[in-house]
Symmetry: C2
Subunit: 203 residues, 2 copies
């Protein structure tokens, strides 16, 4: 969804202040949170004059919303579009989050903004539902009996791992992956599936 860069007419739109702002916001909002990042700091980090920032965005809220909207494609497609993995492996790969993703920004935003009506909170919901949907699709591909349910369950595990990682300051995704393996094996009937085992459960 990274639009513009060059406008539709081919005209260059200035020196890319907008993108610098969003790029800086991605870093700062993640590192120090949304509420702890002021506009002055954000503009300084983006090397953009404050005036310019407010010419591109009506206010901080809009920057926050746009900051969350950016993730939609990147995070999702990274895992689910890998054709080198079986569907089951893809489901589990969703728990192999690289260290570059310290915490789901949607949970953080939902907590920090604290207003379900905020546009950014809407994006957060949309994203979460999209992830659950993608997981359900993959679950269906893997032959799960109730793919919607499995997708929802795996999404819940991911969120649990994210939240727990944040609170405990220790990686909880391996534990979540272990649970996921159990759920996947339980959800896929014996006849279907790729490499699942029946009674034994990988810890």
């Amino acid at each position: 969804m990274t639009e513009l860069e060059k406008g539709p007419t081919g005209r260059r739109r200035g020196r890319g202040a907008r993108e610098r702002i969003l790029s800086a916001s991605e870093q700062l909002f993640r590192e120090q949170g949304i509420n702890r990042t002021g506009m002055n700091e954000l503009c300084a980090s983006a090397e953009v004059s404050k005036r310019t920032a407010y010419q591109h965005f009506t206010g901080k809220d809009e920057i926050v919303a746009e900051y969350l909207r950016q993730f939609d494609p990147s995070v999702l497609s990274g895992v689910f579009d890998r054709t080198d993995l079986t569907p089951r492996e893809r489901l589990l790969a969703a728990f192999d989050i690289p260290p570059t993703t310290p915490l789901c920004p949607y949970i953080a935003a939902a907590v920090e903004l604290h207003d379900p009506q905020h546009p950014a909170s809407q994006y957060a919901r949309d994203y979460k539902k999209a992830v659950a949907g993608r997981l359900a699709d993959t679950a269906r591909e893997a032959g799960a009996a109730d793919p919607e349910q499995l997708g929802e369950q795996l999404a819940l595990l991911i969120d649990g791992a994210a939240a727990r990682t944040r609170v405990l300051n220790a990686d909880a995704f391996p534990a979540a992956a272990a649970i996921a393996a159990v759920l996947i094996d339980n959800a896929i009937p014996a006849t279907a599936g790729d490499d699942r085992r029946r009674e034994e459960v990988s810890s």
Copy 2:
């Protein structure tokens, strides 16, 4: 841990400003978040003069820390000390959160404070570990093969449900309870346990 009210000597300690502050903080921090609740508002809601507040607490940080410390006994003992339930039922009862608990305040605090060194963040970690420990104890009682692991897994499910409930604005605890049932049945060897089924899985 609701100490004082009357001191150990029987002496009345003023008019209970401290408790009013903590009571108001519990409500306000929960309803609107920590960062969105200013000291002026907090003191007004507690019907306490600002000066008094700063005589009881060195600063807002201390109030936040104390606010989190209060939960330790109440939430935990409510579920785990019920002798009318089998251990397995107690494990599942942890997912029957009443509507009075809109969201785990520890996750919210960890996100809002955004500083793992903050005393309140410490309390959050302690609490989370305590819950996992209690779950593990109960899992052991229920005859689980690896009670520590099951306790950690169930704790992760609770956090996932809490986070997801917050972001999606919809109750995710039933789904978490369903997963919990699967994990519990998988973790308890066939010989042990109370009412578990073997192959069938309660959705």
